[in-house]
């Protein structure tokens, strides 16, 4: 393929990425923002060209050693649920925007620590970026069959790199706040992760099933090769020891590599996305590695006896079979892995460079004197230029130092250097006593060993044949520490980490830390306790004025955003807007606001410039923290208790209302009873008085009076009976006798005793029977009572020549009986009240001449006891009573009437 056409493909591919980044940035729809798979895929920035091409080289040259790079992360990833959750929370509340911020903030927000970490990362990662450029450049020449040009400016690969640098610096610096999420670039990286996997699978399938006849075919042929056994098993205990150390290096790299910290922590949008990543990311890595073995050994079989670089088997195999499309696809896959790594690494390094090195050391004074617009612009420019310079430096580095080194060794050296941040990093999260001095001295000790053990030997030989003079003597002297059964990488890792951790622990324990360090140590280790109001956990004492701090905020955030932020703060802590002095919370809050833009260290310096802090002793800090921690747990307990109390008081007041209501009901009832009883007694008494006073009453009248006395006594009796009966019903003292009965027959039984009265009044009586089955389960005697009551009422209110009609029907397993009579209607408002006790007596105008006034109340109770209901309805020319019996729910067992 010609250089021009491949270059065109590259440009098209970059344009596609640009488009995706652009759209994701612009749309910000839910699919992009809340997608845990985009987050998980973006983590696959871990798989660089080193993985894409280098793994295969390692599989061929040193066998199993390519696997620990993934096994290490696989081992630790399930524990992310605990570790990364913690890191995420700490970073969120402190507006951390890079690993340098994260570590240096913990050790007292130290400017120098941040700067050192930045330098470590830059020196560790630049060769790594150079490595990606090497991969792009070499595969470019491989695909186009052109030699690498000596002159940088005529080499096509140079143009690809420049394009890359422009793309990164444009998209990486969209936001001045570095802790802001970059949706566009992350979506592009996720797409690249997806594509590189697909292209690798295409190649794997091609090699396994087209070039060969499946996995077992490759195995059968490869197992005949002389070094097959040696490369595919451990070299005993020694081999497995090296393997374990490599696993450890990669397990720490997955936390510490700046680009991994950036994608996992800084770009995390929701904590729960972590949960998807915990199973999805290992799955991704598994698929990525599935075809390494067949490609490596397939390539070895194909190219046996030829001297070709096995790192580029992926390109060479499809080329060998003349398959142009797969060759280009593989090239694009490699390009993807390189580009995403270069972009993310350069963005996060540029943030560190600006926020932890350039701004706090020198640029801050310039920023202080400018306004918001200018500051934003100059911060962005610093980052843009940094990205560009980083990539170009990496390119130069590649051209002059790593041309001759393999992808694998350069990558691993980066890992070992970055892993030196491990002790201070993990110490930050888990160990309160870890101190700034211990961490920084440990780190430097580890780095010195790495420098002499790895970097000098690796790059020195790029230009020299052997060590000379002083250097040689030095190395001879240190050869005592050689561990013969470890590879040089494992050996240096072992010694450097041992020294690093020992210095860290010993110095931390032997010296008391600074109060600020200890303050952050508490916040870091106990982040779960402080997550809600972390500003409270920041301890600060001194003099500060809101207006001074506000002036600084305005310089970096602008008037509008400052106003907004302050409003939120005042609202959160319920602070009067006119407050003039600033407290610790406001200082921490302002530092956070500035952190994303200029870094935590510079934010602290700026705020320090306008405030006056009083010294606090470590003891005081610890006491305050202890107090606030106790307060928090006490608060929690109190809240819990007060919630319980509130619930209890609610229940009590409800019960009280209920009681008051019941009491009133009882009073009303007693009033009614007294009233009802007095009426017949008055009648009896007056009749008795007349009879007693006057002896000359004619016999006829006398008899009438005596009959009156008997009738009223009967009524009195009836009332008392009904009261007692209702009382029994209400207290569940009457057993129901439920049997299968014929409903129409029951109705007839109820009708019989009063049928002659109905006939006397010339009332037309009719029944409408819509039932197919007449047998239902109910208490017959009680139902007769209900019917008689309603029929009795109907008889009273129906005028002569009126109509009484009963209707039986069944609907949804319910038996419905409607009894209709013509005559006077019930006032709408009273339709429900008529079922109350003594309803009639309260409505004197409807007052009936006889009856206890308890009939309908009894009916209602009876129906309810049988899981039924009763209701009254006004029809056009009369009143209809509707009784519903739920047929299915009835129990066969005789049931006691329940108290309502």
């Amino acid at each position: 393929m010609s250089s021009v056409s491949l270059f065109a493909v590259v440009i098209l591919y970059l344009a596609l990425l640009f488009l995706v980044a652009h759209r994701a940035e612009k749309k910000k729809s839910k699919i992009w923002v809340n997608n845990p798979y985009i987050y998980s895929l973006s983590l696959a920035v871990y798989c660089t060209a080193w993985t894409y091409y280098g793994s295969i080289g390692v599989a061929v040259n040193s066998g199993l050693d390519y696997l620990p790079i993934y096994i290490g992360p696989i081992i630790i990833i399930p524990a992310w649920i605990y570790i990364n959750k913690k890191i995420l929370r700490i970073s969120r509340v402190n507006k951390v925007s890079s690993i340098a911020d994260f570590i240096s903030l913990r050790y007292g927000n130290s400017r120098s620590f941040g700067a050192i970490i930045t330098l470590v990362c830059i020196f560790g990662i630049i060769p790594y970026i150079g490595l990606q450029i090497k991969a792009i450049s070499e595969t470019f020449h491989l695909v186009t069959n052109t030699p690498i040009s000596k002159n940088i400016f005529t080499d096509n690969a140079t143009f690809v790199v420049v394009l890359l640098a422009l793309f990164s610096s444009y998209y990486g610096t969209r936001y001045v706040d570095a802790s802001e999420k970059r949706l566009g670039i992350i979506s592009a990286v996720a797409l690249e992760s997806f594509l590189k996997l697909v292209f690798l699978i295409v190649l794997g399938v091609f090699v396994t099933f087209f070039a060969f006849d499946g996995f077992s075919d490759i195995y059968a042929k490869a197992s005949l090769l002389p070094d097959f056994k040696e490369k595919n098993t451990f070299n005993g205990l020694e081999g497995s020891f090296n393997w374990m150390i490599l696993c450890l290096i990669s397990a720490s790299a997955i936390f510490l590599l700046p680009r991994q910290f950036h994608t996992t922590i800084v770009e995390n949008r929701q904590e729960k996305h972590l949960k998807t990543a915990i199973w999805f990311f290992p799955l991704y890595l598994l698929i990525f590695n599935l075809f390494v073995f067949p490609i490596a050994w397939g390539g070895k079989i194909i190219f046996e006896g030829q001297t070709v670089n096995p790192e580029f088997y992926s390109i060479l195999i499809p080329q060998h079979f003349g398959n142009q499309i797969i060759t280009v696809l593989v090239f694009l896959g490699g390009l993807s892995s390189s580009i995403s790594m270069v972009i993310i690494s350069s963005i996060t390094l540029s943030i560190m460079l600006s926020n932890n090195l350039i701004i706090p050391y020198g640029w801050l004074d310039k920023l202080k004197s400018d306004n918001e617009e200018k500051n934003t612009k100059s911060i962005m420019n610093i980052r843009k230029v940094s990205i560009f310079i980083l990539i170009v430096t990496a390119f130069v580095f590649y051209k002059y130092f790593i041309l001759k080194n393999s992808l694998y060794s350069v990558g691993l050296i980066s890992f070992v250097i970055i892993s030196q941040l491990g002790p201070s990093f993990f110490g930050a999260i888990f160990w309160r006593r870890g101190s700034y001095k211990g961490a920084i001295i440990g780190l430097i000790g580890g780095l010195v060993i790495c420098y002499f053990g790895l970097i000098i030997p690796q790059y020195y030989f790029s230009y020299n044949q052997e060590f000379k003079g002083f250097v040689r003597e030095l190395y001879n002297w240190f050869s005592f520490f050689d561990i013969p059964y470890l590879s040089s990488i494992s050996e240096v890792f072992f010694w450097s980490i041992l020294v690093n951790i020992s210095l860290f622990i010993i110095i931390s324990l032997s010296q008391k830390g600074d109060y600020r360090e200890r303050n952050f140590a508490e916040i870091y280790v106990d982040i779960d306790k402080y997550i809600q109001n972390h500003e409270n956990a920041f301890i600060w004492r001194g003099k500060a004025f809101v207006s001074d701090i506000r002036n600084i905020l305005v310089k970096f955030l602008g008037e509008k955003k400052t106003e907004q932020a302050m409003r939120i703060f005042n609202l959160k802590y319920n602070i009067d807007t006119r407050t003039e002095t600033a407290d610790a919370r406001f200082i921490k809050f302002s530092e956070n606001l500035l952190s994303g833009r200029i870094g935590t260290a510079s934010a602290k310096i700026l705020i320090e410039g306008v405030t006056h802090e009083d010294k606090i002793s470590l003891k005081e800090v610890l006491e305050i923290l202890e107090e606030s921690k106790e307060n928090i747990s006490l608060n929690k307990k109190l809240t819990e208790q007060s919630r319980e109390l509130r619930q209890l008081s609610n229940e009590l007041s409800f019960a009280n209302e209920n009681l008051i209501f019941k009491d009133k009901q009882k009073d009303d009832f007693l009033d009614s009873v007294a009233h009802e009883l007095r009426t017949p007694i008055t009648a009896i008494r007056s009749a008795g008085e007349i009879l007693a006073d006057d002896d000359d009453i004619p016999l006829e009248i006398k008899r009438e009076f005596l009959n009156n006395i008997i009738t009223e006594s009967d009524r009195l009796n009836e009332i008392i009976n009904d009261i007692l009966y209702l009382d029994k019903l209400e207290h569940g003292e009457i057993a129901l006798n439920i049997n299968q009965n014929n409903i129409v027959e029951t109705y007839q039984k109820a009708l019989n005793p009063i049928s002659h009265l109905i006939h006397q009044k010339n009332i037309h009586l009719s029944e409408v029977d819509l039932l197919t089955n007449h047998i239902f389960e109910y208490d017959e005697a009680r139902l007769i009572q209900v019917f008689q009551n309603i029929l009795g009422n109907a008889l009273k209110f129906t005028d002569e020549q009126g109509t009484i009609q009963a209707k039986f029907q069944e609907k949804d397993e319910e038996l419905i009986i409607k009894i209709f009579n013509t005559g006077k209607q019930i006032p709408e408002d009273d339709l429900n009240l008529i079922f109350d006790k003594f309803y009639q007596s309260r409505n004197q105008n409807l007052r009936k001449p006889s009856g206890s006034g308890l009939g309908l109340a009894i009916c209602k109770k009876i129906m309810e006891a049988q899981n039924g209901s009763i209701a009254a309805k006004n029809m056009e020319i009369g009143v209809e009573f509707e009784m519903i019996l739920n047929n299915r729910k009835l129990n066969k067992e005789p049931e006691r009437i329940q108290y309502e």
Binding site: I74, P78, S216, F228, N232, T233, G236, L237, S240, I278
Partner: protein, 64 residues
């Protein structure tokens, strides 16, 4: 997610550490073919796959 279920994942991490270290991994230290592939590869990728399935199940079942 409850602390108890989070702990299951942490235990999974410890388990993987043991399964991928000597002496256990050395038990499978052979180039002999199992399912047409070297035994050591089958073991490593098998454990890898199982760990994915395990964490997936833990999240599906206990994540509320």
């Amino acid at each position: 997610m409850k602390k108890r279920h989070e702990q299951k994942l942490i235990i999974l991490s410890f388990g993987l550490m043991i399964l991928f270290s000597a002496p256990i991994i050395l038990l499978f230290n052979s180039e002999r073919a199992v399912f047409g592939l070297p035994m050591l590869y089958v073991y490593i990728f098998g454990v890898w796959l199982l760990s994915i399935v395990a964490s997936f199940i833990i999240f599906k079942k206990y994540d509320e």
